[in-house]
Symmetry: C2
């Protein structure tokens, strides 16, 4: 840590950490953001050797509340199955960090934040972000938390993209990396679904060209439609069939456009509840960052090159059989590249009919895989348990 020459300036437990005024974040686009704020939560504390820190990276609509109650929804943390007392990631042993990505809307600087230059919300004048930009801000946050190297960086879906970016950009700061239900680049179909969501938002006149916040409006209908479309991609066809099939909401059909089928009602609920906790412009910016993600591209189009400096990092890659958003073939592609780069990579495809969202749901085989991997990593790192 001595070479970083930093004070531990970010408080334990969580809050919002503000970048020092003289350290703007330089983005891939070339733009700079000064006074960037990163909202985060921590659980547990750093051990004496500084070897027990774990960074958890959230997915598109996730946030820093990985293991604590969400302040808006009142729901438990989104990964309490894996993070908590007696879980594979345990604040009793680990210093757990989770931050809201930049561009997000749970406290980190994003398009809904106030642009100091105008005193108005940034809106569409906020610069376009990349997954690498998000990771760059996380690296500065862990500096501020006094963390030099991470025992593990862990994430699912977009979180797994950040994990790969960490391995490419900061391999010397990682001991291990866990990539769940993810991909090394967005496919044409991935981009297509995101574009539908963005068009749904931008079609809403309440979006006001992105300036809705300054004008006291909210593109709730457009954002709800975007969420509904995306939500279908998070579930497998068999899971939808098992959960809902053609079950009706009431006895008999309405012979109208009410939600006759339970699956319609479920989707409408997903859309309606999402707008209470998410910002439409953040949705545009984060989906754009995911679409732009193509880890091989800046490495001559060869993914293995991105991982060349990560030979000492222990990788764990997990996928789910019924995930059609980031199917197992994408994980295999990552594992092949890791192998070609000379990295150690454990890989498991987990049998599940729950689709992409399996990484957030009750999947004991996934828990077991992560438990085993974390135990082996801790042994190698010399952390007793």
């Amino acid at each position: 840590m001595a070479d970083l020459d930093l004070d531990v300036s970010a408080p334990l437990g969580g809050g919002v950490w503000r970048f020092p005024a003289d350290r703007p974040l330089v983005l891939d686009s070339g733009a700079k953001i000064s006074g960037l704020e990163v909202a985060y939560q921590t659980y547990g504390s750093l051990n004496e050797n500084g070897t027990n820190a774990i960074l958890i990276c959230h997915a598109l609509t996730g946030d820093q509340y990985v293991a604590s109650t969400h302040p808006t929804t009142g729901k438990p943390g989104w990964w309490t199955r894996l993070v908590g007392p007696g879980k594979p990631i345990d604040p009793a042993r680990h210093f757990v960090i989770c931050s809201n990505v930049i561009g997000g809307c749970m406290g980190s600087t994003g398009p809904a934040s106030i642009d100091p230059a105008t005193g108005e919300p940034w809106g569409l004048s906020f610069p376009i972000l990349t997954i690498a930009d998000m990771v760059r801000a996380q690296a500065m946050l862990i500096d501020a938390l006094g963390v030099d190297t991470l025992l593990a960086v862990v994430g699912g879906s977009m979180g797994g993209m950040q994990v790969q970016q960490w391995a490419a950009d900061y391999p010397q700061r990682l001991f291990s990396a866990v990539i769940v239900a993810s991909a090394s680049r967005h496919s044409a179909q991935n981009i297509a679904f995101h574009e539908v969501g963005r068009q749904a938002i931008m079609a809403d006149p309440e979006w006001r060209g992105g300036a809705y916040a300054a004008q006291g409006a909210r593109p709730e209908k457009g954002l709800a439609v975007a969420r509904m479309a995306a939500h279908i991609t998070y579930l497998s066809e068999p899971a939808l069939q098992r959960k809902f099939g053609r079950e009706l909401q009431r006895d008999g059909l309405s012979w109208g456009f009410d939600a006759d089928f339970q699956v319609e009602s479920y989707l409408r609920h997903q859309g309606a509840s999402f707008v209470d906790r998410f910002d439409a412009n953040s949705y545009l910016y984060i989906t754009r960052a995911m679409d732009y993600f193509d880890l091989a591209a800046p490495h001559g189009g060869v993914l293995a090159n991105a991982f060349k400096a990560a030979r000492d990092v222990r990788f764990c890659v997990l996928s789910f059989t019924s995930d059609w958003l980031y199917p197992t073939s994408e994980s295999r592609h990552i594992v092949r590249a890791l192998t070609a780069a000379g990295c150690r990579a454990a890989f498991a495809e987990i049998d599940s009919d729950k689709g992409h969202d399996a990484f957030l749901l009750d999947e004991p085989v996934m828990d077991a895989a992560l438990t085993g991997f974390m135990a082996s990593v801790e042994r190698e790192r010399g952390i007793g348990r």
Copy 2:
């Protein structure tokens, strides 16, 4: 035909046929539509024995212009690959009929038509329709064309639903039936995608509660988003990847929300061109009819029961390996039911990476299957060729 006691009142070639005033169409909902109009095209002419008529049923956004230029888009008929001189369905040998479904927007009575009771467009006061209602109107149209029995009823996707409904409701009027890329009921995922499209339309303030036509408005943005979402389901992931991958529109990224990727531009074009030829309320009504479709339901939940009276009908069922909208498992479900009902059913799963839309595209194996099936049907029916 004598027992039907009908004049041939619908002109050859095509046009709009108006139901006699004393014959309202009674719908499954219980509603009646008087003076119903059905827009249709015919090709070729009925032979002396009346044995060469073929009805072609169109898909969700299709129309009666199966083998002739579309009046709005100027594009060739949507199935000229299969219908035309030297094709498996050939006006030189067959009397080909194709009608716009009721609820549609290409001339048949639908929500954009004028409600005689008010002198205004029906809008949402138009009654909810079913696939059976569409078929009932088609049966009345072929009466008016002087056709007693059909050599074949043929359709893909929603067209295939109508074919199955024909087999259930009018088996004695069919000699053969061809069901392509279809299903016997909408799955939860099918309903979910349609609901996203409907919500996108209804979220557009220009929809005006369905009364846009009377108010001189058009919910173009919502309808375009609906089309974009649906369009993704028509293509396979490999086809999207092959056609577009991550190819850019221009050199380099825009670092904004322009259509950077070719797949975005393609989808936007699909949305924009669709609104020029389709009515938003028709989209609501027809998707609803498809969601309501569950052929087994009125037959005690046993699909075979629906086909029991169709034992003399020769069936051909075709599916495509990469169709994830109506996957091969749905076709197999139909074939099992046909077999259980004692029907003769030819079945072929065709290797294609083009997804659901394969039935509209260049798939020589499909052409060959249909050619062979039609030849055998014609031999059995005693039509020389």
